[in-house]
């Protein structure tokens, strides 16, 4: 009986694993993410500093751009995210992208109030890790806050513009588990639809 209960608890735990963090946001679609971005890059942070800005803590992360997947951007840039730590005080803004030194990600980047920021906040960040065979793969960020179904108006707009199957699919689902090259091809296709055509 005890073993059965343990197995049941284990099974439930496996089935229910979900990301642990939150704001409340719509799931971002691939073409929506591409259209609001000025560049998509593979990058690795190497420096970071957090500062107070009008009662908020903002973190500026210096990243080395290793590959420009789409758009145009310099080879190393500072990216602003909200939250961070200054002295003994920390501030956390749920759903933000989390850039850590040495950890490579695929990032969708846009400009906001004269800074480069991550488009779609945490949903625009895709950590890259090597699989068992050493192949680098892109992963969906599981810690982006509470998610809703895609925004209906965004979905309708994209479907009106294209019938491409990936266009109106969640960006995380389209890119998750794909090799960097494969993901780059997908993003380039989306970029053509969302940037060149308009």
């Amino acid at each position: 009986m005890m073993w059965r209960m343990r197995w049941r608890a284990l099974l439930i735990a496996i089935l229910l694993i979900v990301p642990a963090h939150a704001s409340v946001s719509f799931t971002v679609l691939l073409d929506a993410l591409a259209s609001e971005s000025s560049a998509a890059v593979v990058m690795t942070p190497f420096d970071q500093k957090s500062v107070w800005e009008d009662g908020r803590i903002a973190t500026y992360t210096h990243v080395r751009v290793e590959r420009v997947v789409a758009g145009t951007i310099a080879s190393d840039v500072w990216i602003k995210t909200l939250g961070g730590a200054v002295g003994d005080i920390g501030q956390m803004v749920e759903g933000e992208a989390v850039l850590r030194a040495g950890q490579t990600s695929l990032l969708f980047i846009t400009s906001y109030e004269n800074n480069l920021v991550v488009a779609g906040r945490g949903q625009g960040q895709f950590p890259i890790t090597a699989d068992g065979a050493g192949v680098k793969r892109v992963h969906k960020n599981l810690h982006v806050g509470a998610l809703l179904a895609p925004n209906p108006s965004s979905l309708a707009r994209i479907r009106a513009a294209t019938s491409h199957p990936s266009a109106a699919a969640p960006a995380g689902d389209v890119l998750d588990g794909r090799t960097v090259d494969d993901a780059a091809t997908e993003i380039a296709s989306s970029w053509t639809r969302t940037h060149v055509a308009h």
Binding site: A9, A13, I14, L16, I17, V18, P19, A20, H21, A22, S23, V24, S25, F26, V28, A32, Q48, S50, W52, D54, G55, R56, I57, T59, L82, G83, G84, A85, D88, I89, G90, Q91, M92, E94, G95, E96, A97, V98, R100, Q103, T110, Y112, V117, A119, G120, R121, G122, Q123, Q125, P127, H139, N141, L142, H143, G145, A146, L147, L148, N151, S154
Partner: protein, 306 residues
């Protein structure tokens, strides 16, 4: 987020304790927010379902105050906002915790008290002057780069060495999205009370739960109202942080609660730093109103603890 070396040392010492605390409750699904942002490459497993790096967050005092932006929203009147927030917080603070001893108080040892309206409309923490934990609505422009995507956002400020919460502000995006305040929620609608009950859990230091029935579950279904009511897992979560005996479970063990003083850190103020926002004159609940609410809550708390 980089830690100081002192904090790193503290983490090293306390992670073992934290891990044992976590492993001791693997049957539950709730998680706590910690001082460390979740690594985007972190993948939860049955043995390690919660991100437990850093210090779990908690309010030290027995009472926490909050304010609402005085002009609320075109969609949500001030009175409706106040009612929703009071209902949402009460759902958490009235949680009855399982206790081994029938004679002990079974109520979660945290009260959240409305301190009145504020004119200030900014997420902000002032380290050298007064503060307010503000619930605010953005009717005009959502002040973030993802205006089409985010409905609600809670920002928390804390001590990185202890996990003690210093400030929490909640933003609701009424610029782009419609929220249902009263009546039936349409199947494609967003229930304000569900959203603020979920966000209130974050305000109190909880992270997302793995329990699909929990208010703190990470996915909200449009049209749903189930998040208005706490699940058993939510109750276990709030009770694990704010135990009925008045202690707060921290990474270093249980610590006693502070006094029932809902005044925000460094004093109550609606001032937005140097930009000069000021506390509202207090229309529906001026000084007397706030006092009355606080006295009422003190009575209720005493009755609940008797």
């Amino acid at each position: 987020m980089w830690r100081t070396s002192a904090a790193l040392l503290a983490v090293g010492v306390t992670l073992t304790i934290s891990a044992s605390l976590m492993s001791a409750r693997r049957a539950e699904a709730f998680c706590r927010t910690t001082t460390s942002s979740i690594d985007p490459s972190f993948v939860a497993t049955p043995d390690h379902p919660c991100w437990d790096d850093g210090m779990p967050l908690f309010w030290k005092n027995a009472c926490v105050g909050y304010s609402i932006q005085q002009d609320a929203s075109k969609q949500v009147s001030f009175n409706d906002a106040q009612t929703s927030m009071e209902t949402a917080f009460a759902e958490w603070t009235s949680a009855t915790c399982p206790t081994a001893n029938d004679t002990a108080s079974s109520k979660a040892s945290i009260d959240v008290r409305f301190l009145g309206p504020v004119a200030c409309h900014k997420v902000q923490y002032n380290s050298g002057s007064g503060n307010s934990n503000t619930i605010m609505f953005d009717d005009g422009t959502w002040p973030h780069n993802d205006s089409n995507n985010t409905l609600g956002l809670t920002t928390v400020t804390y001590n990185i060495n202890t996990g003690e919460l210093y400030d929490a502000d909640m933003e609701l995006n009424t610029a782009q999205q419609s929220l249902t305040v009263n009546g039936d929620v349409p199947s494609d609608g967003f229930d304000l009370l569900s959203i603020v009950t979920h966000e209130s859990g974050h305000f109190l230091g909880l992270a997302h739960s793995q329990d699909t029935h929990a208010t703190m579950f990470a996915h909200y279904t449009q049209g749903a109202t189930s998040m208005r009511s706490l699940s058993a897992d939510d109750v276990q979560g709030i009770c694990s942080v704010y135990a009925p005996d008045g202690t707060r479970m921290t990474a270093t063990g249980a610590v006693p609660e502070g006094p029932c003083d809902p005044t925000p850190r460094h004093g109550y103020s609606g001032v937005c730093g140097s930009s000069g926002c000021s506390a509202a004159p207090g229309p529906t609940s001026g000084g007397f109103g706030v006092l009355a609410v606080m006295l009422g809550l003190v009575r209720r708390r005493r009755a609940g603890r008797a």
